[in-house]
Symmetry: C2
Subunit: 157 residues, 2 copies
């Protein structure tokens, strides 16, 4: 279902990106780039809480872990079609590390997004069940993040 | 239910904010402030699409409107407890306009959050039903945003 929705969304995003960009000020893709970076920021914030507990930097708290994990899983269900218009890549925009090959590999990008949705849903189910359960669930989440970053994000210089 | 959860979340946030801040670099509340600003950015991005259609700056598209409205309504359900630790106000932090009285008026803040959740849920139901339905639903969303900003955000100088 998510894959089907993503494929449909991509078509829409390509069709609407120009008019969408025209309705916003600044660079043509600034609004989209800021939106996806904000989305990543919210992933990082909520995952940071779970990671802090996993490595013992903060005390395990079942309620707080569940809140962070539920936010993470919910964020992974948002539809990002308007965040990734074609042309909003690191070749043509200084303010992004998103490699152009994202737009040549949408089936793989969607697959990696689906992997993140599954890993965060598993974390949502596990986070309140004790520190060991949280620790067991965090590896797949980090792997899902890393798989997409490794393939599609320009390395830092 | 949302109010009850918010009240419980506030207690947790107060208890965990110090250890949470200690686990992040920079100013003690930088991570929380960045997170809530990212959240606002995502509200603005998705509402901007609906607003663009409402005022005729972009063509009405039922699918795109539904995507943006669903994102908006889903974002309004996220638990923001870790985004608003006590002390992360505009008196003690240059990088936020959040007035200290937020932390003295949590029942009212929660009520305003609930109003936003209801207005965005109504928008989610309406957005795909034509431009008139979208236009009718956007006023209450803007009012819910504005009610909280007017009461709790430092005016721009």
């Amino acid at each position: 279902m998510i894959r089907k929705l993503t494929a449909a969304a991509v078509g829409l995003a390509l069709a609407s990106s120009a008019v969408f960009a025209a309705s916003h000020g600044g660079g043509p893709f600034d609004a989209a780039i800021k939106a996806r970076q904000a989305h990543m920021q919210l992933y990082a914030h909520n995952l940071g809480i779970l990671g802090g507990m996993a490595k013992g930097a903060m005390d395990y708290n079942a309620d707080l872990a569940t809140v962070a994990a539920t936010n993470l899983a919910t964020l992974a269900t948002l539809n990002q079609m308007t965040y990734w218009p074609e042309g909003s890549d690191s070749f043509d925009n200084e303010n992004t590390a998103a490699l152009p090959k994202i737009w040549d590999n949408f089936p793989d990008v969607a697959k990696k997004g689906q992997a993140l949705a599954e890993a965060t849903a598993a974390m949502q189910a596990a986070a309140g069940n004790g520190l060991d359960a949280l620790r067991a669930a965090i590896g797949p989440v980090g792997e899902a993040c890393g798989a997409c970053h490794k393939a599609y994000r320009k390395p830092k210089e």
